[in-house]
């Protein structure tokens, strides 16, 4: 249903857009009218709209996303080679931000009302208010130029990678992954920390926490064994919710650190007017987000024994 609506929206967009979907070729004055006609016929743009729509949808269903003019390859191939890099970046940022975010929230709740709590809240708020691309640029500036600890960009070292052994290649890749992953993690963990702090504070007045306290458990034990467990359910919801932000974050972060993922491909496609590739990225991104929230729903059912029976 959702994919269907995305398909309709993209089809409408492609056809409302001025000129042909491949105006990059069409606007070239060296291309004669006859060639244009043949191109149009080849790609089926001379057919009536309903027929084009049926064709478009059936092509989508077969995983065909069109032709990328800037890469001179099918969009599907371009995105398929880029996707693993994006998924790696997102996975590292997801794990990193939830670990860091939950830890920050635990520290805050353990010392609720203290100066530490307020300071951490302020820092989270600061990071939440930062645009992804600005933090990425500052990180690049700080840790690749001013303090040249990490590479300026790219996925691997273009020269040395070939000469490295297996371990060396992995280290090289992680070295390049560090800054983009750090940027995304910093942004996402701020949101997780805020959310988790509220979730923990929601749980604390509950009866079983009071029971645990009356049993004589230390505050730390109570937080770790009782409050955190029950406040984990909202965190699973949060995974589903943070997926769109993480994905759109990769668009900027990948571009700035030249991390060769889907976002990098799509952002460069915007500049080179490769519209089919842009739309392909939009469609795949929407599908990823939908799958992400589906996954979160499944996890939720798995984690909550009350839902398991149903």
């Amino acid at each position: 249903m959702i994919v269907a609506i995305v398909a309709v929206i993209t089809f409408v967009l492609i056809h409302l857009a001025p000129g042909d979907p491949f105006s990059g070729v069409m606007d070239n004055p060296n291309v004669s009218e006859a060639v244009r006609q043949t191109l149009r016929a080849q790609y089926g743009f001379d057919r009536p709209l309903p027929e084009q729509f049926v064709k478009y949808v059936s092509a989508l269903a077969h995983g065909e996303l069109g032709w990328s003019f800037s890469h001179e390859r099918p969009v599907r191939e371009v995105l398929a080679t880029a996707l693993p890099n994006t998924l790696l970046l997102m996975a590292v940022a997801l794990v990193g931000s939830f670990t860091l975010g939950i830890l920050i929230a635990l520290v805050q709740v353990a010392r609720r009302g203290s100066a530490t709590d307020h300071a951490l809240s302020g820092i989270s708020l600061l990071f939440i208010s930062m645009p992804d691309f600005w933090l990425a640029l500052l990180t690049l500036l700080a840790f690749a130029y001013w303090l040249p600890l990490f590479p300026v960009g790219g996925t691997i070292d273009p020269v040395m990678h070939e000469y490295k052994g297996f371990v060396g290649r992995i280290v090289d890749r992680l070295w390049h992954l560090a800054l983009p992953a750090l940027t995304l993690t910093a942004l996402a963990s701020a949101a997780v920390a805020r959310y988790q702090r509220a979730a923990l504070l929601d749980v604390l007045p509950a009866d079983y926490i009071r029971t645990a306290r009356l049993k004589g458990l230390s505050e730390r034990e109570i937080l770790r064994r009782h409050a955190l467990r029950n406040a984990l359910l909202p965190i699973i919801t949060m995974i589903g919710l943070s997926f769109p932000a993480l994905l759109t974050g990769t668009f900027f972060v990948e571009k700035i650190f030249s991390w060769q993922g889907m976002g990098y491909a799509v952002v460069n496609a915007i500049a080179s007017r490769d519209y089919q590739l842009v739309m392909g990225g939009v469609i795949i991104g929407s599908i990823m987000v939908t799958l992400g929230s589906l996954l979160a729903d499944l996890l939720y059912a798995l984690a909550d024994p009350r839902l398991r029976g149903q």
């Binding site: 249903m1 959702i2 967009l13 708020l125 208010s129 930062m130 640029l137």
Partner: protein
């Protein structure tokens, strides 16, 4: 103590002016120091935007000396430096405040109009219409807003600011309309609505005069967050080159102009970004304080 009785008389007496829920909320949040600071900072930035033609030391689009005046680091003459076209970055940041804030507010007004109308109709109508409207909303909500905007704006390059505002507004009302629908649904069978119905009030009158005034607080919170969100989105799109077009200055496209040479032109990323973070942060603080004030009521 005499002032206690006086206070009591003043607050319960017939002379007391009835205060709007919004005025009450504003007074309540201003008791917190953090929101007073946020209010002040936001006011200053707003003023900077409004008075841009007076405050900006140079014309933001002028390129006085493309050979020797370009890419200058911050100095007394150019506190924020100049860009690769020799334009004064401070003046561009000031005009950028004007444009970015304006886009944020106008797009949010568009979103509010759609979101409130859609949510109120769905919630008040109920039944099959509500179900269909909510499924459509789910579909829209599942596409990340930035991706939707990239899809739209990449198709129409070189859009005018008005069109940009429209698209930003049209992609921002989905969440709000869900909130409005929920509230309308919850209040629909409240006693004061039944009373109004019994008095023969029309559906439109009930919606406008009885239901919507009760939704002012959540709507104001959503609008405050909405402005912050639009400012970040517009900056992102302008950074990608599909938002505000040159020679107009917005915080996003100033950063874009310097992003390729961030190592040498650091001032072009740092200063507009600081303004943006400050604005968004104050808006977030105020939204949080507003929703707290609402919850305590």
């Amino acid at each position: 103590m005499p002032w206690q009785t006086q206070d009591f008389a003043a607050s319960s007496g017939p002379t007391r002016v009835r205060e709007s829920p919004l005025g009450l909320a504003v007074r309540r949040i201003l008791r917190k120091r953090s929101s007073r600071v946020a209010f002040f900072v936001l006011g200053v930035i707003l003023l900077v935007g409004l008075l841009a033609p007076i405050l900006a030391p140079y014309n933001p689009a002028a390129q006085p000396d493309i050979v020797f005046g370009k890419s200058l680091s911050p100095s007394f003459a150019h506190p924020f430096g100049t860009d690769p076209y020799s334009r004064d970055v401070l003046s561009r940041v000031i005009y950028g405040a004007r444009l970015s804030l304006m886009i944020g507010v106008l797009a949010t007004i568009v979103s509010l109009t759609f979101g409130v109308a859609y949510g109120a109709v769905a919630g008040y109508a109920g039944g099959a219409l509500d179900a269909v409207m909510m499924r459509v909303l789910d579909a829209f909500l599942s596409i990340p807003r930035l991706l939707l905007l990239i899809g739209v704006l990449a198709a129409w390059p070189q859009l005018s600011v008005a069109a940009l505002v429209l698209f930003l507004g049209l992609t921002g009302w989905f969440g709000l309309s869900r909130i409005v629908r929920g509230q309308v649904l919850a209040l629909k069978h409240a006693e004061f609505v039944t009373a109004a119905q019994a008095l023969g009030a029309s559906r439109r009158r009930i919606l406008w005069r009885h239901l919507l005034p009760n939704l002012v607080s959540p709507i104001v919170v959503a609008a405050t967050l909405g402005v912050a969100h639009v400012i970040v989105l517009e900056a992102g799109l302008s950074y990608l080159g599909i938002g505000v077009q040159e020679p107009l200055a917005s915080w996003g496209n100033i950063i874009r102009d310097g992003a390729d040479q961030v190592a040498t032109l650091w001032w072009m990323s740092l200063f507009p970004g600081l303004f943006m973070v400050l604005t968004v942060m104050t808006l977030n603080i105020l939204a949080e304080a507003l929703s707290e004030a609402h919850e305590r009521r």
